[in-house]
Symmetry: C2
Subunit: 430 residues, 2 copies
């Protein structure tokens, strides 16, 4: 396609008319498609259906002879911790296995930091003046929602393609009010980018104004590859320890997008001091996690190789959907100069930067044509994208044919909104 | 037996010698028994073993067609809420089903009250001066531990046999600093007592100094009867609503001692406003609970009658154990005037009031003889029993023969410590 910005007024208006007609035709089809949330599709959940009859009547002892049906075992079964140790990059004794939600583990870590402080805190974070988090943007709306819930200030930092802009991060981290930072280091939500070695090294070694600064390292997509290449990121726990900041990272992960989204396992991994702290807090909250679900997962996945094979099956289902979105964007928008998008090698999202000032309009147009998108702005703190530019596409849940249809509409809406914005600008210019 | 206090010095010393010899003989047996925690026995867990192969591959849709394997469903499956509505005394739409721990639901309710306040709060509780809870004693150590964790002051109130001393409760509740109260209304932990209608009515109607006062109504033993009589307590939700205090009660329950202690369901029930508040908070913490475990429970228990039959099977296993403890206490201590104990008609504990100043000594003697007891003082805030008098016996977990052996030792330790205390007093008296 031609660059829209290069069109003269006549050509621009002609194109607008044509694209508007195409849009109206698509809208007339009365579709109802949903590309809002990063949910696994039913066929992905089917891959783990054997879990629904596990661990089986009579199979309830852990390898240490613990009755997984009863109370206790706050840290989680040793075999479950061992199975996921490679995913977390931590030894089993520095891993905690929790119930079905890593978001809950993150929430609790932050709530406890607010109410009690963390190792190294002089006071609970809620008593510190203006506790603040560094928030790489675009980022994960549920991270930001926890901060918003508890009045934690959020300072956005742009993503660079190698992770967050580390000059900006280091400048912010020097402020003692800055207590923490959200990171999705691999196949980041939503940009898909992978933190570079240098980024991770700088995060581990940087000077922080707060002695109790914590990196909330949400490794949600650790094994969620979309290519043959299983990307690795630097081991934040090891690098922080080497940089003499052993207590800096809280590492989180889950099997929500490995086994079953609603009935998986969540993990916390950190330094020995942080794990002791976490267990001391968690021990006031519960007598122990659901260990039968841990046994169920161990029986089903078996070992690292089993996990790898399972993720390969996910990949086979997901790649065509991601390709469908990318093909539609490419065919409609390449060369127009009004949008750019990520080509992720893993994770659950495609991030689209549309023409500034049109993201909300794109969502509205798509909605009118029967395609539900994540609200514009969702990838920013307080849902305010200052440039009204970023969209997060979630192609995993709908069937492939629906992803194709929805992507066609989305690409057209991006184009239409961009063209109309150019028309507006031209009119104003005259 | 003779009242110990009536013995003359000579007889007392002779008895002391005899009881000490009996104790030494028992100690020489080198037993290793544990009566510390209210854990279900393996045979009780076996009653629910069918859960370990449920809901079965292919059975993952709720009655409304929701895929229980995926994200979402924050309030819990409708059929799970309906199944437990009679237990909670609330309609299904005012029930939330959570993961495996009601303690966690209580913890979160309190943590959120501290960080955010509850409906009717002028400020988060953590910003109120000296937030305080009324704590009926003896009570549940894990309730007190949550208060201690967050610096909430605890004001003990004695139990009367009809629930807490309501004159004392009403006097304390008039203080605006008093934000809440712990209650285990049925088969209370550890006294086994059942709140009378008058007690519940007064709790519902009393004036509170804090407009955002909350009763934490931990109905942990709602269906855990030890007799044919299924005792009922007043419906706190209805009574509070009638008294124009609809938001006063937070009701909690779980299936930890119904199905599987580590893999059950937990419940929150309250007014519409409180449920909205709870869900708004919980929605920041998680995308939803483990709904497969809810389906598993519905498939297994089926209906109210299924639940009743299941609890009858528990009763058949538990009654002999409770009887063994009561028989040992009766045979050793009746008429001695040095101890009194509860004869619970439900729940998980027997509460023993030993001679003041001897509870710790009894625990030490029992430990020496190979019987682990809950630490003396555990039933009081900060684990400080001002009279060093209350012991909590937990006869559910050990096998019947072990309960018999342990009870014999415990009764003897109570007697020995009481006699020695009397000897001490006589010596001081001379």
């Amino acid at each position: 396609m031609t660059r829209i910005a290069d069109l003269n007024q006549e050509d621009l208006h002609a194109l607008r008319l044509q694209v508007r007609q195409e849009y109206d035709a698509l809208r007339a089809r009365g579709l109802k498609l949903d590309m809002t949330r990063g949910k696994p599709a039913p066929e992905q959940l089917n891959l783990a259906n054997r879990l629904l009859a596990l661990p089986r009547d009579g199979d309830h002892f852990s390898e240490t002879g613990e009755d997984a049906r009863n109370y206790g075992g706050l840290q989680g079964l040793p075999e479950a911790r061992a199975l996921f140790a490679p995913v977390l990059g931590a030894p089993a004794d520095r891993i905690v296995v929790s119930n079905n939600s890593s978001l809950a583990v993150m929430h609790d870590s932050l709530a406890w930091a607010l109410l009690k402080g963390v190792p190294g805190s002089e006071a609970p974070w809620s008593q510190a003046p203006w506790p603040t988090f560094i928030c790489p943007v675009p980022g994960y709306d549920r991270h930001f929602a926890i901060c918003e819930e508890y009045g934690i200030r959020m300072r956005p930092v742009p993503m660079t393609g190698q992770g967050p802009d580390m000059d900006a991060v280091e400048a912010l981290a020097a402020d003692p009010a800055v207590k923490g930072m959200w990171c999705v280091p691999k196949y980041s939500n939503p940009t898909g980018e992978i933190y570079s070695s240098e980024t991770v090294q700088r995060l581990a070694a940087m000077r922080t104004g707060a002695p109790d600064f914590r990196i909330f390292w949400d490794n949600a997509y650790a094994v969620h590859h979309l290519t043959e290449r299983r990307h690795e990121v630097g081991n934040i726990l090891d690098l922080c320890a080497k940089a003499n900041n052993p207590d800096r990272p809280f590492v989180f992960a889950s099997t929500s997008k490995v086994t079953l989204a609603g009935a998986g396992l969540a993990f916390f991994a950190s330094s020995a001091a942080n794990v002791r702290w976490y267990l001391a807090r968690a021990g006031k909250r519960t007598i122990g996690p659901d260990k039968l679900n841990q046994l169920r997962h161990v029986r089903f996945l078996k070992d690292e190789e089993g996990l790898r094979r399972h993720m390969d099956s996910h990949r086979a289902l997901l790649v065509p959907k991601f390709n469908a979105v990318l093909a539609a964007l490419e065919s409609r928008l390449a060369g127009t100069g009004i949008a750019s998008w990520s080509k992720p090698e893993g994770g659950y999202f495609i991030s689209v930067d549309v023409m500034p000032g049109t993201a909300r309009q794109v969502v509205a147009l798509a909605k009118d044509a029967g395609v539900a998108l994540t609200p514009a702005g969702a990838t920013w703190p307080h849902a305010r994208d200052p440039q009204d530019r970023n969209l997060r596409l979630a192609p995993t849940y709908p069937a492939l044919e629906e992803v194709r249809a929805a992507s066609e509409i989305i690409a057209l809406c991006v184009l239409l909104a961009g063209i109309e914005k150019h028309c507006e600008a031209q009119e104003k210019g005259h």
